[in-house]
Structures are given as C-alpha cells and as structure tokens.
Amino acid sequence: MYSEKVMEHFENPRNVGELADASGTGTVGNAKCGDIMKMDIQVEDDVITDVKFKTFGCCAAIATSSMATEMVKGKTVKEALELTNTAVAEALDGLPPVKMHCSLLAEQAIHAAVEDYQKKHQ
C-alpha cells in the first residue's frame, strides 16, 4: 500500500531530533488521533539552515515528516511557507488516500515552525 519512497523514508528518516536553540518550533496534531509532529527550524539570514523533527504516528506520518524536512532545508522562510501537502505527497510518489492527512500535518508543522520564527523575529 505504501510506495517504495515512503518505506525508504520510514526506514531511514532524515533529520530526526531536536535543535537546542531553534529559531522556531511548531507542534501540530494530537495524541488522541494518533499523530503528533514537532518541527524545529534554525534560520540564518532568512534561510532555513537546519531542521529537525520528532513524530508520534504511523509510517506515513514519519515519512512525510522526513520528506518535508528535506524539502525545506536550504530554502528561504518564504519558500517554506509555500510548501504544500500535495507537494510532500508527490515527492513520496503518492500516499494512500486515507493517509493524505499525514502530509497535511507535515505542511502544517513546517508552517507552524516558520510562523513561530516570524513571531519571534518581528
């Protein structure tokens, strides 16, 4: 049911962990639904230089978190805000329909982290 790319990211997730002095942090989802994502970003000169995630959730939640971190690393804050869940899902060669909400969580987690950074640096 999962693409090889989803399984590859699930097996070897990129950017797992936390940043000690994160420029911004976003946490979305809730344990009751079985999905929580936490993203930490490090921003220098408006560019996301580092990003780490921690996720409680299924395969798809872990794979989309991992892919989303790869997609925003090195991007500007503005570009990161343009990240969409469909782009994350496409980068993983698609997700089963019932798992699309996982990619939405990944998008929301990145956006939440960027917004947290913006709030702190305005």
Partner: protein, 388 residues
C-alpha cells in the same frame, strides 16, 4: 530478509498439509455435486456428511445441528439476523457486549435500523463481561443474547457457561461467536448451554472461506440463502466440497491435539509476555493474565503508534497486528481497547502477537529482542517520549 516469524494467527493460520492433502482429490477426481444422485454425487455427499460429523464431534453437537457457511462472519450474520427475525413475535430486544467482532456489532446495528433495541453491555478492565449484567439486561421482550466466547484482539475468555445458564433459565436464545475459541480451548455446546455457535476454518489451520453455524435442534431460524435444499434447506447453494472436507479434517486435528496445543501455547505466550514486560519499559498487557486464549499476546506500548510499530517489525520479518486507527482504516483505535478503558493515545500503540504450534521459543526470544530495538528507535523519534 530473514526467515519470516509469523505471529498473526488470530488473523489467519496456514492450512496444514494434512488438511490440503485430504482436500485436493475433491477438486479433481472426486468433484461431484453432493446433490447428484449418481455415484460421483453420492461420494461427494458422503464426504460432506463425514465432515459434518467431524465438526459436530469437535463441539459436542449432533451432526444434523451443523450447517456449513462461508465463515465466521456469515455464521454471525445468519445467527443474529435470522434467529431474531424468526422469533420477532416474542419481542425485539437483543443483548450483546461492546467488544464483539464487527460481524456481530454491525449486524446488531443493522437490527437497530430495523426497529430492534440492542443492549451493548460494558466489560471490565480485562475485557470480562459480568454474567450479572447479562441477567439484569433481560426484559420480557428479549429474544437473543449474543456474546463471544473469546475476544479476537485481547484474547479474553468470557464466562460463557454462566451466561448460558442464565439464558437457559430465562428461556432466551443464546448465540456465541466462538471463532477464536474453537481449536484453542475446549468447546462443548451442551456444557456451555448455547443454542447457536459460529466457527471458522482458517483460524485453526483449515482453509479460508469455510465455517459453520451450530444451530441446536428446535431453534427457530429463517433461511439464509433461498433456492436450494442444501443445509436442510436453510442455506441454498452447492456445497464448497473441498473446503468442507478440509474444515472437517482441521477441526478434528485441532481438537485431538488440544492438550499439547494448550501446553505449548501457554508456555510461549507467557514467555513472550514476561519478556516484553520485563525488558521494555512503559508497556502494559491488554486483557487478563490467565483468562485469555493460550496463544494471544496483546500489549500497549506507550509513546508510539501501532502501525509504525508493525511496519518496523515487518521490515525485520516479524508479522503481528495492531488495534491502532491507522490499521483499522478509521480515525478511532480499536473499540475493544477503548471498551477496556484505554485512553486513545495508548490504544493507538497496541500490538497483538498471536501464536501457533509453528512458533518456537527461539522465535519468541527473537521477537522480544527485536521489539525492544524497534520500540527504542520509534521512541527516540517520538515527541511524546521526551519526558518518559
């Protein structure tokens, strides 16, 4: 990948070679229609009736009380819907539990749509139903009580005998879904006082797509399938001859080997439970320590989600199952885990490992070791485990 360690026998089992051996001729040289009156047909009829006797003997019934079906779900649907409808003059009330298989629960919900009233009794923290609650739920218009013998997720054994006594004294039909129980614990329809009992072949190393409904003689029940004289006219359609023969052989083998099965399964089960609970922190056993199926292990692993757990184990060649929402295709985790009082976030992290005679001590030890590593890996990734 390593050799597969299969611990999902509550989902399905491998058909035993002794079973497929007796089935094979009934696809080819002994292909007859049991309803035909010529020799080929008569041979097929003999095979069907022999299997019926094998099934009857395994559960203490008479052969004519056994009706072949396509499996446990069909048996549950038939027993509830058609026995209720046949006895509607008495009333429109059904008593069941909140932890039944969906084949029972969804049929009960369907009956509600038809204007029936259904009482869904709660269970305690181990998943055990109180016979007193059953007694108290009986009204003048109660037609049917349907309670599972053993739960498919957490393995809890229900006090079927006691409930059977209550039903008998009250003169109310009693059906039990014994799909997980048959072949795993002793089953006797008279000792249990059940009027109807569902069983399924592939849960005890028989073929898939075949099961049976025991219907005590004298019980009023409507036809399931119209259009044929098969199964005493109650379920029309040409019999699934090879599968029926396989079911008969599988149930005979399972029941004759029950003492060895029980001993080995309980040993492996307890070794697995003890190993997991002693070596992995923040894990709890779901269900009862001893009032559980000999081959059932179900644990809740905090701070991680069940599907991720299953898939990581799968990558290591270990096959289990989970009651997480992600594996059920819905947003809610298993209704059974919620019914025993687990909060959603803990229910999401459940893992069921169900054993068979094929499993070994070495496999159990491998699973404990690999599970420990998988849990550590996923917890390192979990934002919930930070304060663990």
């Amino acid at each position: 990948m390593n050799k597969i360690i299969y611990m999902d026998n509550a989902a399905t089992t491998a058909t035993r070679p002794e079973v497929t051996d007796v089935m094979l001729p009934y696809f080819t040289e002994q292909f007859g229609n049991p309803s035909s009156i010529h020799k080929v047909g008569r041979d097929a009829r003999r095979a069907v009736e022999n299997a019926r006797r094998q099934v009857a003997a395994a559960i203490g019934a008479e052969a004519r009380e056994i009706y072949f079906t396509a499996g446990g779900s069909e048996s549950d649907n038939w027993a509830i819907r058609c026995a209720a409808m046949a006895n509607v003059k008495k009333g429109k009330h059904i008593i069941t539990s909140s932890i039944e298989h969906h084949a029972v629960l969804h049929t009960c919900e369907y009956m509600e749509k038809l204007g029936w009233c259904v009482t869904y009794l709660p269970v305690d923290e181990y998943g055990i139903l109180s016979p007193a609650d059953v007694k108290n739920a009986i009204c003048d218009d109660t037609v049917l009580i349907t309670i599972m013998a053993a739960n498919n997720e957490i393995g809890t054994l229900e006090p079927i005998r006691e409930i059977g006594m209550i039903a008998k004294e009250a003169g109310i039909l009693f059906h039990t879904d014994a799909v997980q129980a048959v072949g795993a614990i002793p089953v006797d329809v008279n000792d249990w006082n059940v009027d109807m009992l569902s069983l399924s072949g592939h849960k005890f190393h028989g073929p898939k797509g075949i099961g049976a409904l025991y219907i005590r003689k004298g019980v009023k029940i409507e036809n399931l399938i119209l259009g044929g004289a098969q199964e005493r006219g109650l379920r029309g359609g040409t019999e699934n001859l090879p599968a029926i023969v396989g079911l008969g052989k599988a149930i005979e083998l399972a029941v004759s080997e029950l003492p060895q099965y029980t001993e080995k399964m309980e040993h492996l089960r307890d070794r697995l439970i003890d190993g997991i609970l002693s070596q992995i922190p923040q894990v709890r056993l779901n269900g009862h320590q001893t009032k559980r199926l000999p081959g059932n292990v179900n644990v809740a692993v905090r701070y991680i989600e069940g599907e991720a757990l299953l898939m990581r184990l799968d990558l290591l060649g270990i096959e289990g199952s989970s009651g997480s929402a992600c594996t059920s295709g819905s947003l809610d985790p298993s209704h059974v885990l919620l019914a025993i009082g687990l909060p959603h976030e803990i229910a999401h992290g459940s893992l069921r490992l169900s054993l068979s005679m094929e499993n070994t001590e070495a496999e159990v030890d491998t699973v404990i070791r690999e599970l420990k590593g998988v849990v550590e890996g996923l917890r390192a990734m979990s934002p919930l485990a930070m304060n663990a």
